[in-house]
Amino acid sequence: MKVLVKDKINTALNRLAENSQVYVPVHREGGSRFAPWPTVPGDELALDSLNTMFSPKEVVLPQTEKMYTFAARGQSVEIKETGEERKERVVFGVRACDSKAIAALDEVFLTRGYEDGFYKARREPLIIIGKACTQPGPNCFCSAMGVDPLEPDPVDVIIYDLGDAYGWEPRSERGQKLTQSLGDILADRDFQKPSAGEFQLQVDINGLPEKLAGMFEHPLWEELAEPCMNCGICTYLCPSCYCFDIQVKNRGTEGYRFRCWDSCMYPEYTMMAGGHNPRGSKHERFRNRFLHKLEFFQERYGTSLCTGCGRCIVACPQGINIVSIIKRLQEVELDVR
């Protein structure tokens, strides 16, 4: 068995960075996040915190991404693709909730008959080094959402915190290769995998998607949505919210098309060309977010789109708590139809 002694973390990251773009969790004023290694001044490697405030989805789905540029050249138009260069990328220290979210993004962008080229270009060369979570935080409930905090998936390597070192376990062919390339930095040592700590937050999602299918018009949504102010914090901090908009910028005879995150909390999100908004009220927008997480995604892909990371619970200015909401929904007694 291999371990990475903590004193050698920097050496290992430097080695990886020789051939790849490496992302690590950092503390930064304005919120912890995954950022490139070597870190810039102000960023501080944060492998020991529970997780990052901003999720690693930015690595595969940046908030703003140029798609192509165009320019009028006389009677013709010149179009240039501006997609990312394909190069190997390594993201280090991804927790199980966030890797489950990447699995969900993979479903959306790579399956069901259409592959999103921009996503694929970032995702395919990505090596994920997952970190087993042993001590759930006060807002963590991944286990309730069917995630094993000790088994991030998909990953290429899993690391286990052993105190002075990280237990190092390759989980894929690419992970094996990566392990070999770090051969002189990793040490041989037997270790026992740590076990998971106890979750403070528990919630039962049994039967919830089926139940929600009959609750679209339930008056509870209006009550639950009342404190919501329809900002985009929950959707932008969420590791699995993936909605984006495609927009364009023109300057004279040239310009570019880009895509950027969008949020179902915004009225503009569903605004139609004719001026009609099918989700015109705040409770309809609120309902959509929860139904997408807990019902629609389950119906289409067979898994929940909420992975229990708890970020939205921490950051909601009005204290909206998805666990409390699931509990309220579960308490509702529906007439048998």
């Binding site: 503390h27 004023e29 304005g30 919120g31 912890s32 501080e44 944060a46 915190s49 529970l50 997780n51 990052t52 405030m53 908030q63 703003t64 935080g137 006060p138 807002n139 009550e223 009342e226 404190p227 102010m229 329809n230 900002c231 985009g232 914090i233 932008y236 901090l237 908009d245 927009q247 910028k249 880009f258 950027c260 995150w261 949020s263 915004y266 009225p267 503009e268 605004m271 705040k282 708890g310 970020r311 619970i313 921490v314 950051a315 200015p317 009005q318 204290g319 708590n321 666990v323 409390s324």
Partner: protein, 301 residues
């Protein structure tokens, strides 16, 4: 505060029992000790849910906008800053005074449940719980300025030191330093619009940032589009900001929005003042930037 909670519950029950109001806006306890959060109650027995404690920091007046097209009579609990928010809405013709029963509470200063949640979350390293919330440490008007009924004791202002100290520091910077400062701040913005949505002065039915034809501000998350957003936002609330500090409190990336708002408060004061937004409800009152006077200063044009 236990006593205040009792008074809050009694008052809400009385209002709902007597059908004086259809709805009461107050605070309830969430799952954690530091979680107080907005609650909207319609039945007298629900009054038992209400609390008033050191975490009731949310400015509830903004929520009135959700009911501006309705007929309901609404009971609302307000601290000093929240009451200025109510004045803002009435002055902006967004709400009728007659539809409100306002219960004022002298505010001893609040702690921020969001800051507490972040500190406890394990997501931001060694972030410390800050005690009295930043916005409350700047507070000059803790006592409600408009109410039908007042509960609790009058409170002294919490501001220590000079109100515009930070603004003056900013004004003292060179243009390059200021550009660097704001570039650092605004490049962080994730465009979640929480600062706009929580703002009681942001009460336009159609917000410029939601417009698509034309699209006044680009949707890219980059410095230029972010600056476009923040400068327009700040200018739109100039002379109308009630200094409740909610924008800065809810910002998930810690942009010091009140610094910008306070700079504009200072400018409005110097150019058109003395002026304090929404300190009392006056017939036909309008904020300085909504009024034209032939003797308005124009030396900046």
């Amino acid at each position: 505060m236990k006593e205040l909670t009792d008074r809050v519950r009694q008052t809400a029950r009385k209002l709902l029992d007597g059908q004086q109001v259809d709805l009461v806006l107050g605070w309830e306890k969430g799952p954690e000790p530091f979680r107080s959060q907005p609650v909207f109650i319609r039945e007298p027995e629900e009054a038992e849910q209400l609390v008033f404690d050191e975490f009731c920091i949310h400015n509830l007046s903004t929520f009135l906008l959700d009911y501006r097209d309705g007929q309901e009579k609404i009971g609302i609990f307000v601290k000093g800053c929240d009451s200025r928010g109510v004045v803002r809405l009435i002055e902006d013709n967004q709400f009728l005074r007659e539809r409100l029963y306002i219960i004022g509470i002298g505010c001893p200063g609040m702690k921020d449940p969001l800051a507490a949640a972040r500190a406890a979350s394990g997501l931001n390293g060694t972030e410390e719980n800050e005690g009295l919330a930043a916005k409350c440490r700047e507070c000059m008007y803790p006592n409600p300025v408009l109410y039908d009924e007042l509960i609790g004791d009058e409170q002294p202002p919490h501001l220590e030191g000079e109100r515009f100290a930070q603004v003056k520091k900013l004004e003292g910077m060179s243009a390059e330093e200021r550009w660097q400062f704001f570039s650092d701040m605004f490049s962080r913005c994730i465009r979640c619009y929480a600062c706009r949505n929580v703002c009681v002065a942001c009460n336009c039915r159609r917000c410029i940032f939601d417009e698509t034809r034309p699209q006044w501000v680009g949707r890219e998350t980059n410095l230029m589009d972010n600056i476009g957003y923040h400068v327009i936002r700040a200018m739109h609330v100039a002379g109308r900001c009630v200094e409740c500090g909610e924008c800065e409190r809810v910002c998930p990336v810690g942009i010091p929005l009140m610094l910008l708002n306070r700079k504009l408060i200072k400018d409005v004061n110097e150019l058109f003042g003395p002026y304090e937004a929404s300190l009392k409800l006056e017939e036909e009152a309008s904020p300085p930037l909504s009024v034209y006077r032939p003797d308005d200063p124009d030396n900046f044009l």
